[in-house]
Symmetry: C2
Subunit: 190 residues, 2 copies
Protein backbone atom coordinates (compact mmCIF):
# COMPACT_ATOMS: atom_id res chain seq x y z
CA UNK A 1 0.00 0.00 0.00
CA UNK A 2 1.32 3.40 -0.95
CA UNK A 3 0.79 6.46 1.20
CA UNK A 4 -0.57 9.79 -0.13
CA UNK A 5 1.95 12.60 0.29
CA UNK A 6 0.04 15.41 -1.44
CA UNK A 7 1.49 17.67 -4.12
CA UNK A 8 5.31 17.57 -4.34
CA UNK A 9 7.86 18.40 -7.05
CA UNK A 10 9.03 14.79 -6.87
CA UNK A 11 11.34 14.41 -9.85
CA UNK A 12 14.57 12.91 -8.53
CA UNK A 13 17.46 13.33 -8.99
CA UNK A 14 17.74 16.90 -10.24
CA UNK A 15 20.95 18.41 -11.63
CA UNK A 16 22.79 21.33 -10.03
CA UNK A 17 23.10 23.71 -12.97
CA UNK A 18 25.22 26.84 -12.93
CA UNK A 19 23.71 29.31 -15.39
CA UNK A 20 26.25 31.92 -16.47
CA UNK A 21 25.21 35.20 -18.11
CA UNK A 22 26.38 38.72 -18.90
CA UNK A 23 24.39 41.85 -18.27
CA UNK A 24 24.50 44.75 -20.74
CA UNK A 25 27.85 45.89 -19.29
CA UNK A 26 29.36 42.36 -19.50
CA UNK A 27 29.10 41.96 -15.76
CA UNK A 28 29.01 38.27 -14.88
CA UNK A 29 26.15 36.57 -13.05
CA UNK A 30 25.84 32.91 -12.09
CA UNK A 31 22.66 31.30 -10.79
CA UNK A 32 22.03 27.82 -9.34
CA UNK A 33 19.08 26.13 -11.05
CA UNK A 34 17.77 22.61 -10.49
CA UNK A 35 14.77 22.88 -12.80
CA UNK A 36 16.42 22.45 -16.16
CA UNK A 37 16.55 19.61 -18.64
CA UNK A 38 17.51 18.54 -22.12
CA UNK A 39 14.46 18.93 -24.38
CA UNK A 40 16.03 17.73 -27.65
CA UNK A 41 19.43 16.34 -28.69
CA UNK A 42 20.83 19.86 -29.03
CA UNK A 43 18.49 21.89 -26.83
CA UNK A 44 18.11 22.73 -23.16
CA UNK A 45 15.21 24.30 -21.26
CA UNK A 46 15.50 26.23 -18.00
CA UNK A 47 12.62 27.08 -15.69
CA UNK A 48 13.84 30.35 -14.19
CA UNK A 49 11.55 33.00 -12.77
CA UNK A 50 10.81 36.09 -14.86
CA UNK A 51 12.64 39.16 -13.60
CA UNK A 52 15.55 37.28 -12.05
CA UNK A 53 18.99 38.62 -12.99
CA UNK A 54 19.58 35.53 -15.16
CA UNK A 55 16.28 36.05 -16.97
CA UNK A 56 17.00 39.77 -17.57
CA UNK A 57 20.55 39.03 -18.72
CA UNK A 58 19.45 36.39 -21.24
CA UNK A 59 16.77 38.76 -22.52
CA UNK A 60 19.49 41.25 -23.47
CA UNK A 61 22.48 39.00 -24.28
CA UNK A 62 20.55 36.23 -26.14
CA UNK A 63 22.91 33.61 -24.74
CA UNK A 64 23.94 31.70 -21.62
CA UNK A 65 26.22 28.95 -20.41
CA UNK A 66 25.16 26.02 -18.23
CA UNK A 67 27.88 24.37 -16.16
CA UNK A 68 27.57 21.36 -13.86
CA UNK A 69 28.48 21.94 -10.21
CA UNK A 70 30.92 19.40 -8.83
CA UNK A 71 31.61 18.38 -5.26
CA UNK A 72 34.82 20.43 -5.00
CA UNK A 73 32.84 23.64 -5.60
CA UNK A 74 29.66 22.85 -3.67
CA UNK A 75 29.89 25.84 -1.32
CA UNK A 76 30.04 28.45 -4.07
CA UNK A 77 27.50 26.52 -6.16
CA UNK A 78 25.06 26.66 -3.27
CA UNK A 79 25.81 30.33 -2.64
CA UNK A 80 24.88 31.04 -6.28
CA UNK A 81 21.44 29.68 -5.35
CA UNK A 82 21.07 31.70 -2.15
CA UNK A 83 22.22 35.13 -3.27
CA UNK A 84 20.27 37.27 -5.74
CA UNK A 85 22.15 38.89 -8.58
CA UNK A 86 19.59 41.69 -8.54
CA UNK A 87 20.25 42.51 -4.89
CA UNK A 88 23.92 41.64 -4.32
CA UNK A 89 26.17 43.71 -6.52
CA UNK A 90 29.33 41.65 -6.03
CA UNK A 91 27.62 38.21 -6.11
CA UNK A 92 30.11 36.70 -8.54
CA UNK A 93 33.19 38.76 -7.68
CA UNK A 94 33.18 37.93 -3.96
CA UNK A 95 33.71 34.23 -4.68
CA UNK A 96 37.08 34.87 -6.32
CA UNK A 97 36.05 32.53 -9.16
CA UNK A 98 37.30 33.18 -12.68
CA UNK A 99 35.17 33.96 -15.73
CA UNK A 100 36.36 34.00 -19.33
CA UNK A 101 34.25 34.87 -22.38
CA UNK A 102 32.95 31.91 -24.37
CA UNK A 103 34.41 31.79 -27.87
CA UNK A 104 31.06 30.47 -29.12
CA UNK A 105 28.33 32.54 -27.47
CA UNK A 106 27.91 35.86 -25.69
CA UNK A 107 28.18 34.47 -22.17
CA UNK A 108 30.85 33.77 -19.58
CA UNK A 109 32.49 30.43 -18.80
CA UNK A 110 33.33 29.91 -15.14
CA UNK A 111 36.70 28.18 -15.12
CA UNK A 112 36.23 26.37 -11.80
CA UNK A 113 33.34 24.15 -12.96
CA UNK A 114 34.54 21.10 -14.96
CA UNK A 115 31.94 21.01 -17.76
CA UNK A 116 29.90 23.68 -19.50
CA UNK A 117 27.30 23.90 -22.27
CA UNK A 118 27.49 27.02 -24.44
CA UNK A 119 23.97 28.04 -25.47
CA UNK A 120 22.27 30.49 -27.78
CA UNK A 121 18.80 31.68 -26.85
CA UNK A 122 16.08 30.16 -29.04
CA UNK A 123 13.00 31.47 -27.26
CA UNK A 124 11.34 32.59 -24.07
CA UNK A 125 8.56 30.02 -23.99
CA UNK A 126 5.31 31.24 -22.48
CA UNK A 127 2.00 29.40 -22.39
CA UNK A 128 -0.96 29.28 -20.01
CA UNK A 129 0.90 26.70 -17.95
CA UNK A 130 4.65 26.97 -18.52
CA UNK A 131 7.36 29.61 -18.69
CA UNK A 132 10.79 28.49 -19.81
CA UNK A 133 13.97 29.63 -21.49
CA UNK A 134 14.99 27.45 -24.43
CA UNK A 135 18.56 27.39 -25.67
CA UNK A 136 20.43 25.69 -28.49
CA UNK A 137 23.55 23.90 -27.25
CA UNK A 138 26.21 24.98 -29.75
CA UNK A 139 29.14 23.34 -27.97
CA UNK A 140 30.20 21.62 -24.77
CA UNK A 141 33.56 22.21 -23.11
CA UNK A 142 35.11 20.08 -20.38
CA UNK A 143 38.31 19.84 -18.39
CA UNK A 144 40.59 17.08 -19.67
CA UNK A 145 40.62 15.71 -16.12
CA UNK A 146 36.97 14.56 -16.42
CA UNK A 147 37.45 12.72 -19.73
CA UNK A 148 38.29 9.05 -20.16
CA UNK A 149 40.92 7.68 -22.52
CA UNK A 150 38.42 7.86 -25.41
CA UNK A 151 37.71 11.53 -24.78
CA UNK A 152 34.24 10.92 -23.36
CA UNK A 153 33.00 12.42 -20.11
CA UNK A 154 33.45 9.96 -17.24
CA UNK A 155 30.71 10.54 -14.62
CA UNK A 156 32.97 9.30 -11.82
CA UNK A 157 35.74 11.76 -12.74
CA UNK A 158 33.20 14.55 -13.30
CA UNK A 159 31.94 14.08 -9.73
CA UNK A 160 29.01 16.44 -10.34
CA UNK A 161 26.56 16.68 -7.47
CA UNK A 162 22.86 15.93 -7.63
CA UNK A 163 19.99 17.69 -5.89
CA UNK A 164 17.26 16.00 -3.88
CA UNK A 165 14.27 18.31 -3.54
CA UNK A 166 12.58 16.03 -1.00
CA UNK A 167 14.97 17.15 1.72
CA UNK A 168 17.10 19.77 -0.07
CA UNK A 169 20.19 17.61 0.02
CA UNK A 170 23.19 17.47 -2.28
CA UNK A 171 24.59 14.00 -3.00
CA UNK A 172 27.59 12.57 -4.80
CA UNK A 173 27.32 9.87 -7.42
CA UNK A 174 27.36 6.24 -6.16
CA UNK A 175 28.20 2.94 -7.80
CA UNK A 176 27.44 2.13 -11.40
CA UNK A 177 24.55 -0.34 -11.29
CA UNK A 178 23.81 -0.95 -14.96
CA UNK A 179 23.85 0.22 -18.55
CA UNK A 180 20.91 1.60 -20.51
CA UNK A 181 19.60 -0.43 -23.47
CA UNK A 182 21.38 -3.35 -21.85
CA UNK A 183 20.09 -4.06 -18.31
CA UNK A 184 16.65 -4.95 -19.68
CA UNK A 185 17.54 -6.83 -22.85
CA UNK A 186 16.56 -10.19 -21.34
CA UNK A 187 12.91 -9.10 -21.28
CA UNK A 188 12.96 -8.60 -25.05
CA UNK A 189 13.52 -12.32 -25.58
CA UNK A 190 10.77 -13.77 -23.43
CA UNK B 1 42.10 24.84 -20.52
CA UNK B 2 38.83 23.22 -21.41
CA UNK B 3 38.47 20.97 -24.43
CA UNK B 4 35.70 21.37 -27.05
CA UNK B 5 33.46 18.29 -27.21
CA UNK B 6 30.90 19.48 -29.76
CA UNK B 7 27.14 19.31 -29.30
CA UNK B 8 26.03 16.99 -26.47
CA UNK B 9 22.89 16.69 -24.33
CA UNK B 10 25.10 17.27 -21.27
CA UNK B 11 22.63 17.78 -18.43
CA UNK B 12 23.68 15.43 -15.63
CA UNK B 13 22.30 13.64 -13.73
CA UNK B 14 18.99 12.79 -15.40
CA UNK B 15 16.15 10.93 -13.65
CA UNK B 16 14.86 7.52 -14.72
CA UNK B 17 11.15 8.22 -15.07
CA UNK B 18 8.54 5.52 -15.56
CA UNK B 19 5.58 7.07 -17.38
CA UNK B 20 2.41 5.02 -16.90
CA UNK B 21 -0.60 5.42 -19.17
CA UNK B 22 -3.82 3.72 -20.32
CA UNK B 23 -4.89 3.35 -23.90
CA UNK B 24 -8.57 3.65 -24.86
CA UNK B 25 -9.18 0.08 -23.69
CA UNK B 26 -7.43 0.64 -20.33
CA UNK B 27 -4.48 -1.39 -21.49
CA UNK B 28 -1.40 -0.38 -19.49
CA UNK B 29 1.78 1.02 -21.03
CA UNK B 30 4.94 2.11 -19.25
CA UNK B 31 7.79 4.04 -20.87
CA UNK B 32 11.26 4.95 -19.60
CA UNK B 33 11.96 8.68 -20.05
CA UNK B 34 15.04 10.60 -18.91
CA UNK B 35 14.06 13.93 -20.44
CA UNK B 36 11.53 15.16 -17.90
CA UNK B 37 11.63 17.81 -15.22
CA UNK B 38 9.63 19.82 -12.72
CA UNK B 39 8.59 23.09 -14.40
CA UNK B 40 6.66 24.59 -11.47
CA UNK B 41 5.94 23.59 -7.85
CA UNK B 42 3.00 21.45 -8.99
CA UNK B 43 3.85 20.77 -12.63
CA UNK B 44 5.96 18.37 -14.62
CA UNK B 45 7.05 18.42 -18.27
CA UNK B 46 8.00 15.39 -20.35
CA UNK B 47 9.83 15.48 -23.67
CA UNK B 48 8.39 12.39 -25.36
CA UNK B 49 8.25 11.93 -29.12
CA UNK B 50 4.95 12.47 -30.92
CA UNK B 51 3.32 9.22 -31.97
CA UNK B 52 4.88 7.09 -29.25
CA UNK B 53 2.40 4.87 -27.37
CA UNK B 54 2.75 7.12 -24.30
CA UNK B 55 2.02 10.22 -26.37
CA UNK B 56 -1.03 8.62 -28.01
CA UNK B 57 -2.32 7.32 -24.68
CA UNK B 58 -2.06 10.70 -22.96
CA UNK B 59 -3.80 12.31 -25.93
CA UNK B 60 -6.83 10.12 -25.28
CA UNK B 61 -6.74 9.58 -21.50
CA UNK B 62 -5.68 13.15 -20.51
CA UNK B 63 -3.61 11.76 -17.64
CA UNK B 64 -0.43 9.90 -16.70
CA UNK B 65 1.63 8.76 -13.78
CA UNK B 66 5.38 9.25 -13.36
CA UNK B 67 7.19 6.82 -11.07
CA UNK B 68 10.86 6.79 -10.13
CA UNK B 69 12.80 3.65 -11.05
CA UNK B 70 14.79 2.21 -8.17
CA UNK B 71 17.81 -0.10 -8.21
CA UNK B 72 15.78 -3.21 -7.34
CA UNK B 73 13.76 -2.84 -10.56
CA UNK B 74 16.49 -1.63 -12.92
CA UNK B 75 16.11 -4.49 -15.42
CA UNK B 76 12.41 -3.91 -16.07
CA UNK B 77 12.89 -0.13 -15.94
CA UNK B 78 15.49 -0.42 -18.69
CA UNK B 79 13.30 -2.80 -20.69
CA UNK B 80 10.53 -0.17 -20.62
CA UNK B 81 12.99 2.04 -22.47
CA UNK B 82 14.03 -0.55 -25.04
CA UNK B 83 10.65 -2.00 -26.07
CA UNK B 84 8.05 -0.01 -27.99
CA UNK B 85 4.46 -0.11 -26.76
CA UNK B 86 3.35 0.41 -30.35
CA UNK B 87 5.18 -2.68 -31.60
CA UNK B 88 5.19 -5.10 -28.64
CA UNK B 89 1.65 -6.04 -27.66
CA UNK B 90 2.51 -7.58 -24.27
CA UNK B 91 5.17 -5.02 -23.30
CA UNK B 92 3.82 -4.50 -19.79
CA UNK B 93 2.25 -7.90 -19.20
CA UNK B 94 5.40 -9.93 -19.92
CA UNK B 95 7.19 -8.30 -16.96
CA UNK B 96 4.71 -9.74 -14.46
CA UNK B 97 4.53 -6.32 -12.78
CA UNK B 98 1.28 -5.17 -11.17
CA UNK B 99 -0.80 -2.15 -12.16
CA UNK B 100 -3.68 -0.66 -10.18
CA UNK B 101 -5.81 2.31 -11.24
CA UNK B 102 -4.90 5.62 -9.60
CA UNK B 103 -7.69 6.93 -7.39
CA UNK B 104 -6.79 10.47 -8.48
CA UNK B 105 -6.27 10.36 -12.24
CA UNK B 106 -7.10 8.18 -15.24
CA UNK B 107 -3.78 6.32 -15.30
CA UNK B 108 -2.20 3.21 -13.82
CA UNK B 109 0.10 2.99 -10.82
CA UNK B 110 2.79 0.34 -11.08
CA UNK B 111 3.04 -1.20 -7.64
CA UNK B 112 6.69 -2.26 -7.89
CA UNK B 113 8.12 1.29 -8.15
CA UNK B 114 8.40 3.01 -4.74
CA UNK B 115 7.20 6.51 -5.58
CA UNK B 116 4.76 7.88 -8.13
CA UNK B 117 3.36 11.26 -9.20
CA UNK B 118 -0.28 11.24 -10.34
CA UNK B 119 -0.72 13.80 -13.12
CA UNK B 120 -3.51 15.38 -15.12
CA UNK B 121 -2.72 16.60 -18.63
CA UNK B 122 -2.52 20.38 -18.85
CA UNK B 123 -1.32 20.76 -22.42
CA UNK B 124 0.64 19.40 -25.33
CA UNK B 125 3.13 22.19 -25.69
CA UNK B 126 4.26 22.89 -29.24
CA UNK B 127 6.43 25.76 -30.43
CA UNK B 128 8.98 26.25 -33.21
CA UNK B 129 11.64 24.78 -30.92
CA UNK B 130 10.04 22.57 -28.28
CA UNK B 131 7.47 19.80 -27.99
CA UNK B 132 6.49 18.70 -24.51
CA UNK B 133 3.70 17.21 -22.44
CA UNK B 134 2.80 19.29 -19.40
CA UNK B 135 1.00 17.75 -16.44
CA UNK B 136 -0.36 18.99 -13.14
CA UNK B 137 0.87 16.87 -10.22
CA UNK B 138 -2.31 16.28 -8.21
CA UNK B 139 -0.76 13.89 -5.70
CA UNK B 140 2.34 11.86 -4.90
CA UNK B 141 2.20 8.36 -3.45
CA UNK B 142 5.11 6.47 -1.90
CA UNK B 143 5.81 3.20 -0.17
CA UNK B 144 6.12 3.63 3.61
CA UNK B 145 9.51 1.92 3.33
CA UNK B 146 11.03 4.98 1.59
CA UNK B 147 9.81 7.52 4.17
CA UNK B 148 11.70 8.72 7.22
CA UNK B 149 10.23 9.05 10.74
CA UNK B 150 8.76 12.44 9.79
CA UNK B 151 6.95 11.01 6.78
CA UNK B 152 9.29 12.64 4.25
CA UNK B 153 10.91 10.79 1.37
CA UNK B 154 14.44 9.69 2.31
CA UNK B 155 16.63 9.61 -0.83
CA UNK B 156 18.82 6.85 0.62
CA UNK B 157 15.80 4.61 1.31
CA UNK B 158 14.26 5.49 -2.05
CA UNK B 159 17.40 4.26 -3.81
CA UNK B 160 16.21 5.62 -7.16
CA UNK B 161 18.72 5.32 -9.96
CA UNK B 162 20.10 8.15 -12.04
CA UNK B 163 20.92 8.23 -15.73
CA UNK B 164 24.18 9.44 -17.23
CA UNK B 165 23.71 10.28 -20.91
CA UNK B 166 27.46 10.71 -21.48
CA UNK B 167 27.98 6.95 -21.38
CA UNK B 168 24.42 5.61 -20.98
CA UNK B 169 25.07 4.38 -17.46
CA UNK B 170 22.76 3.93 -14.52
CA UNK B 171 24.17 4.88 -11.11
CA UNK B 172 23.03 4.63 -7.51
CA UNK B 173 23.06 7.56 -5.14
CA UNK B 174 26.30 8.20 -3.23
CA UNK B 175 27.10 10.04 -0.01
CA UNK B 176 25.30 13.15 1.14
CA UNK B 177 27.79 15.98 0.64
CA UNK B 178 25.81 19.04 1.69
CA UNK B 179 22.50 20.80 2.15
CA UNK B 180 21.00 23.41 -0.14
CA UNK B 181 20.61 26.97 1.17
CA UNK B 182 23.21 25.98 3.76
CA UNK B 183 26.50 24.86 2.14
CA UNK B 184 27.05 28.34 0.72
CA UNK B 185 25.82 30.55 3.59
CA UNK B 186 29.36 31.61 4.53
CA UNK B 187 29.67 33.51 1.25
CA UNK B 188 26.67 35.68 2.19
CA UNK B 189 28.61 37.16 5.12
CA UNK B 190 31.81 38.20 3.38
Amino acid sequence: MKKDLGVLPAVYPMPVLMVGTYDENKKVNVMNAAWGQICDEDKIILFVGEGKRTWLNIKSSKAFTVALADEAHIDVADFFGIASGNRMDDKFERTGYHAVPSDKVNAPIIEEFPLVMECELLEFLHTDHVDGIVGKIVNVKADEAVLNEKGKVDPKKLNAILFDQFQNGYYAIGDKVGSAWNAGVKWMKK
